[in-house]
Amino acid sequence: MIKIVKRDQPSRAIFFFTPVLAIFLTLVAGGLIFFILGFKPFEALKFFFIVPIADKYGFSELLLKATPLCLIAIGLSFCFKSNNWNIGAEGQLTFGAIVSGGVALLFYEQEGFYILPIVILAGAIGGMLYASIPAILKTYFNTNEILVSLMLVYVSKLILDYLVVGPWSNPEGFNFPETRQFSDSAKLPLLFEGLRIHAGIFLALAAVIVSWFVFYKTYLGFQMKVSGFSLKTAKYAGYKGKKMIILVFLISGACAGLAGVGEITGPIGQLHREISPDYGFTAIIVAFLGRLHPVGIIFASLVVAITYLGAETAQIFMQIPKYTGQVFQGMILFFLLASDYLLFFKIKFIGSKK
């Protein structure tokens, strides 16, 4: 007989075990789906998860994709830990990219060491400005941040679309919806000759270290944790809730904005319509899979980045649609959320009496 018993306390061991379990279950289910669709499951999984990162170039691409995911997820973990549902990171990324791209275009045809820092800063500020909208509306007008941040994603993409088609489009660009190429001084330096991985990865690593320090070594981190558990307790303890809400949104927006900067000053080098393959949404999965823990997020961003690469490889070699990557991303989150049940409940197998 099986009996489900509530745990007295969420299990800490299972807390870190379930992400691994979720990934395993995703692979099994993924293999099953490939089998149903008439592909050889092991071959398909190999093309999805091993072939793309088998060489130096592939590994560089993995880090390239993991960088924005990690950066955004770190920012989101500030929000999620404190019970603020910012799901508009994609919009903050886009707006950050717009502001930094605009600044980079100002310096077009100019070179100088001071350009890149200004461009990066502009991106962070852009992301913060955009994230401040749901934050301010939530704190002062009691507005639901989920819906506002989500609506703003579409608005930001339309602003970008307007700019690259209209006023910012490259005058010598034959009406392609894209801006001029940024000058070399406005681009993040590449780390290795011939590989696309760029210095943006250091931004992500810095975010990891800073967030670890804030979460576990500062009063703010403690306040966030308490607010995440119970808003009533936080109020009782006298924390300034409004200030904290705005602060976590600003941090989150800055990280998303920086991810946007990394994309346009890194592999892209200009502004055009599609600057992000929904990194802002996928990073939500990364944040959860990484258990809102900075180190966990690093691993999670690598795992989820593979689904992007795998989808591309599988499309080329097996004619599997590239959207398959999203099947895996969705499944990882499903399985993770489902296995969280084990955190709070124990399944007891009770042997029948002989």
Binding site: L137, F141, T143, L150, M151, T324, A338
Partner: protein
């Protein structure tokens, strides 16, 4: 200058046609949200409905099987959401997002072999009455059965919530699951059913897109309509009749863009497209800042898990 009055009728009819999927999905989601569940997976359920409807139509050749199959597919995919959020008590927001991401992916996988296949013609009703009355004729007649269903659904939904006992139970579960549970109502069961109903309506909305509106299968063809449907529910302050108005505005802005481009009006298209989202945010702010208003219109337990300890 003579304005062809039938042309205006046709424009209004095309606005209504583009509003249909929004009305269907929003009315479904409205019931789900009224029971206290926030399902962000509308986009995912819609696209699953779109591919299921189109695939079934192509394979079986039967439009009826395709339409009901699409609704069933919506129900099946929303069962995942219902099981996770209601039985395993997972977070609504995260689960809904996973559903959308998963749905878009799986629909593209299924749809791989259906790209480029032409759709079938869907029968329309009262075609012969179309030219009898100027202006009104093209608006009222010559549409598919799904079209007529969509425009009656808000009224049915409103009646259901206000006047029927089951409607009252749904609202009670959404506003105060604890007291509903104390009254002997099975909160979990009610929420399950409301989620599945939302899935069916999203599935139907998707099928309308792939079988009637643009009869073909294109990857990611819902193009954010599921998110608009979610916004519409908020825009309507959880009132089905206002969904009708909202859907006409959202649909109208889409259609007007095409015509403005054709005439050469110089307002950027992107600004018009963004307008509904901005308006939704403003509506949200207006209803939220008044705590009395939001308490009257928003289901109090929206998005919060309910777990009855055994």
């Amino acid at each position: 200058m003579i304005i062809d009055i039938n042309f205006i009728g046709l424009i209004i009819a095309s606005i209504m046609a583009s509003a249909v999927p929004l009305i269907l999905a929003s009315c479904g989601e409205l019931i789900t949200e009224r029971s206290g569940v926030l399902n962000l997976g509308v986009e995912g359920m819609m696209i699953i409905g779109a591919i299921s409807g189109f695939a079934l139509m192509t394979v079986t050749g039967s439009l009826i099987i395709a339409i009901f199959g699409a609704m069933l597919a919506g129900v099946l995919i929303s069962t995942i959401f219902a099981f996770l959020t209601q039985t395993l008590i997972t977070n609504h927001v995260a689960t809904g997002l996973a559903l959308t991401i998963f749905g878009i992916g799986i629909s593209a996988m299924i749809g791989k072999n259906f790209v480029g296949i032409p759709g079938k013609e869907f029968p329309v009703l009262f075609e012969n009455l179309k030219d009898t009355i100027p202006l009104i004729g093209p608006i009222l007649f010559g549409h598919s059965i799904v079209f007529y269903f969509a425009f009656t659904l808000p009224f049915i939904t409103s009646y259901f919530l206000k006047k029927t006992k089951i409607g009252l139970i749904v609202r009670a579960v959404g506003d105060s699951p604890e007291s509903a549970s104390n009254q002997g109502i099975n909160v979990r069961l009610v929420r399950y059913l409301c989620i599945l109903y939302g899935g069916a309506m999203s599935g139907l909305a998707g099928a309308y897109l792939s079988m009637i509106y643009t009869p073909q299968w294109i990857e990611n063809m819902t193009g954010g309509r599921g998110w608009i449907a979610l916004a519409l529910v908020v825009f309507s302050t959880w009132n089905p009749i206002k969904i009708l108005i909202g859907a006409m505005i959202f649909g109208g802005l889409t259609i007007i863009q095409f015509h403005m481009q054709a005439i050469g009006v110089r307002i950027p298209v992107q600004f018009l497209t963004a307008l509904p989202y901005i308006v939704t945010i403003i509506v949200l702010v207006v209803i939220s800042r008044d705590s009395r208003k939001i308490r009257l219109s928003t289901p109090s337990s929206l998005g919060k898990s309910f777990h009855k300890d055994n």
